[in-house]
C-alpha cells in the first residue's frame, strides 16, 4: 500500500545511430516529423510526456488508450523496466527513478502471464520469495494463502503448460500477490483471454482488489475493463494524458473529442452543429432541430465565456430518442441485441447509431426507412471545431 506520484514524467527513446544520421540530414526549415503520431524531437521519439498523476493509497488506477499511446511505457517506467527520461517517480514518499525494480516493492502481472515454464505453479509463486531468502515455512504459508484466494490450490503441482489461459493468469496474479507489494502493476492482463473468461477474470480482479487492498495500476486498451475496474481512469493518446477522472466523470463529461469517442460503446455520435448564445441561455442546433442546453452546462459555458460558434456536437447512442420529429435520417441497419436494438442511421452526412430498448420499439425498421430522432439538452456535448476541446472545460 502506497501513494504513487508521477511528476512531469517523460520518456524519450533515443535514436539508434542510423536514425540519428538520417535526422541530422533533416533541413532546418523542415517541419517536425511524427512517427505513429508520436512526436520526434532531436533527442528521439517521445513516447510519454507531461505525465502528472497522483495515485492515492489503495486506489485502483486504470491507464487506457489506443495502441502506442504510451500507457504500457508509463507502467514500465513505474516498474523500473524503462528508464525515466525526465520527471520524478515517487512511491511511498521516496524518489524511485534510479531504484532497481526489485527494490521498488512492486509486483507486475504481464499480458502473456510470464510464468517460468519449467517450474510448477508452486515454484512459480514461491520464486520471488525464495530469491528474497524468505524462510521456507513462510513461503509455503504465503503461497498456499494466495492459492486459496485465487482458487488454484489444486494446481500447485502442475506446470504452466498443463493449465488453461485463465488458470495461468490466476497463477500470474498469485505470483504477484504473494509478495504483498506496495503497488500492483498489471499490463493488459486479460487481453489473451476469450471474451467469457475475460468477464469472469474481471470480476475476480474486482474481488481480489478488495481482499488484498493495495494500490493498483492497470493498463488496458479495453474501455469496458477501464470503466468497470478503475476508481479513476487515465485516458492517454500519443503520449499525453487526455483526461483523468472517475468512470462516471469521463463518460458524462469527456474533456475532448478523443475521450468522447474513445469512452462508450457504441461510440458517441458526432454532428456538425451550431452553438447559439442568447443572453445567458445556450442552444445547440443540428439538422433543423434546436434544443436548449441543461442549466449546469449553461453555467459552465457562461463561466468560460463561450460565444455562439459552429461546434462538433456529441450525443451518445443511448441518449438519443426516436420520435416523430427531430433530425431526419434513413435506417441503414437494425441490429437486434436482445434487450435493445442498435439502429444504424444515415443523418446529416454522418453515420449515427441509436440504441432503442426492445420494449420501446414501436415498429420494426427496414433498410431505407425514414426516421426522426432527438436528444435532450442535458446529454449534448459541445466541442470546439478548432481545438476539439469540450467547451464546458
Amino acid at each position: 500500500m502506497a501513494e504513487v506520484q508521477l511528476k512531469n514524467i517523460k520518456k524519450v527513446y533515443p535514436f539508434i545511430s542510423g536514425e540519428d544520421k538520417k535526422k541530422s540530414r533533416k533541413k532546418a526549415d523542415e517541419p517536425e516529423k511524427k512517427k505513429a503520431n508520436l512526436q520526434i524531437t532531436d533527442e528521439g521519439v517521445v513516447a510519454v510526456q507531461a505525465f502528472n498523476l497522483d495515485i492515492k493509497d489503495k486506489e485502483f488506477i486504470v491507464l487506457v488508450g489506443p495502441s502506442g499511446c504510451g500507457k504500457s511505457t508509463t507502467l514500465r517506467m513505474v516498474a523500473g523496466l524503462e528508464e525515466i527520461s525526465d520527471g520524478e517517480l515517487i512511491i511511498d514518499g521516496k524518489v524511485m527513478n534510479d531504484v532497481a525494480p526489485k527494490d521498488r516493492d512492486i509486483a507486475m502481472v504481464f499480458q502473456n502471464y510470464a510464468l517460468y515454464p519449467h517450474m510448477t505453479v508452486y515454484e512459480n509463486m514461491a520464486f520471488s520469495l525464495k530469491l528474497r531468502k524468505v524462510p521456507k515455512d513462510e513461503i509455503d504459508r504465503k503461497v498456499r494463502e494466495a492459492a486459496e484466494i485465487l482458487d488454484i490450490t489444486q494446481y500447485l503441482d502442475r506446470k504452466p503448460k498443463a493449465l488453461s489461459g485463465g488458470q495461468r493468469q490466476r497463477v500470474a496474479i498469485g505470483r504477484a500477490i504473494v509478495r504483498a507489494p506496495k503497488v500492483m502493476l498489471m499490463d493488459e492482463p486479460l487481453s489473451n483471454l476469450d471474451a467469457k473468461l475475460r468477464n469472469e477474470m474481471r470480476a475476480e480482479i474486482i474481488k481480489l482488489r478488495h481482499r488484498i487492498n493495495t494500490t493498483f495500476m492497470y493498463v488496458t486498451h479495453d474501455q469496458t475493463e477501464a470503466m468497470t475496474l478503475g476508481d479513476r481512469i487515465v485516458i492517454m493518446r500519443d503520449g499525453y494524458i487526455q483526461q483523468i477522472g472517475t468512470p462516471q466523470e469521463v463518460f458524462n463529461h469527456p474533456s475532448n473529442l478523443f475521450v468522447a469517442g474513445f469512452i462508450g460503446m457504441p461510440v458517441m455520435n458526432f454532428f456538425d452543429g451550431k452553438l447559439t448564445r442568447e443572453g445567458d441561455k445556450f442552444f445547440v442546433e443540428v439538422g433543423g432541430y434546436k434544443v436548449e442546453l441543461a442549466k449546469e452546462k449553461e453555467e459552465r459555458l457562461l463561466k468560460n465565456n463561450v460565444q455562439s460558434q459552429p461546434v462538433t456536437l456529441g450525443v451518445r447512442p443511448e441518449h438519443t430518442d426516436v420520435g416523430e420529429t427531430g433530425i431526419a435520417g434513413k435506417v441503414d441497419v437494425a441490429e437486434m441485441m436482445g434487450s435493445s436494438v442498435h439502429l444504424h442511421i444515415s443523418a446529416e452526412g454522418r453515420d449515427v447509431i441509436i440504441i432503442v430498448p426492445t420494449i420501446d420499439m414501436k415498429k420494426n425498421y427496414a433498410l431505407g426507412d425514414p426516421i426522426h430522432f432527438t436528444f435532450g439538452g442535458n446529454v449534448a456535448h459541445v466541442f470546439s471545431k478548432e481545438t476539439d476541446k469540450n467547451l464546458e472545460f
Binding site: I16, K102, M108, L115, R175
Partner: protein, 313 residues
C-alpha cells in the same frame, strides 16, 4: 472434391498421425519429388560405401578387390588391440576428445549468453561477425597460424620474453589443440544457441528482474530453460563423436617431439592406411573407432532421456 487435412490437425497423437498419413497419401507425388534426391544421395554416399567395411576383415589387395582379397576375420582387430601402442592411441584420442568436450562444449553456450545480453543490435552484429570469421579459415591455415604464433620467434614467446618451442612439448599439444579449436569454432557453434535464446521470452526476463533475480538467476530461470533441449541434443551428438577426432588438425599440429600426446587413432589410421598401404588394418582400426562412437551415442542418449523427462534424440 476431396478436402486435404493439414498434417498437424488436432485431435490427439494417434489422430494427428492418421491425418498426416492421409495427407501424405493424397500428396505422395510431392513427397517423392522432394525426398528422392536426398534418398538417392544417402544410399549412394552413405550406404553403398559401407561395403568397404569388409576390408577390415580381409588382407586387402587393391588388384584383387574387396571380395577377392584373402579373408582374415578379426585378425586386424586382434593385432590392433594387442599392439603395445593401442592404449596410448586410445587414451590420447579419448583425452583429446573429452577435454575438448569439457572445455569446448560450454564455450559457445557462454558466448551465446553473453551475446544475448548485448542490447545494441548493431554492436551485437559486429561482435558476431568477428566471432564467426575464424570458422571460415581452413584447418591447415589455422594450424599454420598456430605454428607461427607459437614458434620460438612467434608472438607468444615475444610477449612472454621466452623462446620456448611449444610445438615440441607433448604437454602443450592438447592445450594448443583445444584452445585453437575453441577460438575457431565457438563463435560459429554459438549460432544455434543464440537462435534458441531468441525464443526466450522477454517478458519472462522482465518478470525475473521484478522478482529480484540477478543476471545468473535470470539465466538459470529464463535463458537456460529456453536452450536446454538444444544443448542436450548437441551434447548427445558431441558425445557420439567423441572418438571422431579429425585427423587433419592433429596431423597438422603434430611434430616428432609431441607424438606422445598427438598420435591419435585417426592419425594412426592415416599413416597405416595411406602411407604404409595397410588398408585392411587401417579399416579395422577405423571401424573399431566407429563402433565405440555408436555405443557411446546410444548410451548417452539413454542416460540423457532418463535424466530429462524422456527428452533426447
Amino acid at each position: 472434391m476431396k478436402k486435404s487435412l493439414p498434417p498437424n490437425a488436432s485431435g490427439g497423437k494417434s489422430s494427428a498421425l492418421h491425418n498426416f498419413g492421409v495427407y501424405v497419401r493424397q500428396h505422395w507425388q510431392l513427397y517423392v519429388i522432394f525426398m528422392l534426391p536426398a534418398f538417392a544421395l544417402t544410399i549412394i554416399f552413405r550406404y553403398i560405401p559401407m561395403g568397404g567395411i569388409l576390408m577390415a576383415f580381409t588382407e586387402y589387395n587393391p588388384i584383387r578387390g574387396i571380395l577377392g582379397s584373402e579373408w582374415v576375420g578379426f585378425e586386424h582387430f586382434q593385432r590392433f588391440l594387442s599392439s603395445p601402442d593401442f592404449m596410448t592411441y586410445l587414451m590420447n584420442t579419448l583425452k583429446l576428445s573429452i577435454f575438448g568436450l569439457l572445455w569446448g562444449f560450454p564455450a559457445p553456450i557462454l558466448l551465446a549468453f553473453l551475446l544475448n545480453r548485448i542490447m545494441s543490435k548493431k554492436t551485437k552484429q559486429r561482435i558476431q561477425l568477428i566471432l564467426y570469421m575464424p570458422n571460415f579459415i581452413s584447418v591447415i591455415v589455422l594450424c599454420g597460424i598456430v605454428r607461427i604464433l607459437l614458434s620460438p620467434t612467434g608472438m607468444l614467446n615475444s610477449l612472454l620474453g621466452t623462446n620456448t618451442n611449444f610445438m615440441t612439448m607433448p604437454s602443450a599439444f592438447r592445450t594448443i589443440y583445444i584452445a585453437s579449436g575453441i577460438w575457431q569454432g565457438a563463435g560459429w557453434a554459438s549460432i544455434i544457441y543464440t537462435a534458441a535464446l531468441s525464443n526466450a521470452s522477454k517478458e519472462l526476463t522482465e518478470a525475473a528482474v521484478i522478482d529480484g533475480a540477478n543476471i545468473f538467476q535470470q539465466i538459470k530461470a529464463v535463458e537456460w530453460p529456453a536452450i536446454k533441449d538444444t544443448v542436450l541434443i548437441q551434447f548427445i551428438m558431441s558425445v557420439g563423436n567423441i572418438m571422431s577426432v579429425g585427423f587433419e588438425k592433429a596431423y597438422a599440429l603434430q611434430t616428432d617431439m609431441n607424438l606422445a600426446t598427438s598420435e591419435i587413432i585417426s592419425t594412426y589410421v592415416y599413416k597405416k592406411g595411406l602411407l604404409e598401404g595397410d588398408y585392411g588394418f587401417s579399416t579395422a582400426v577405423g571401424l573399431f573407432n566407429t563402433v565405440i562412437n555408436v555405443v557411446l551415442l546410444i548410451s548417452m542418449n539413454q542416460i540423457v532421456k532418463k535424466m530429462n523427462e524422456g527428452k533426447g534424440i
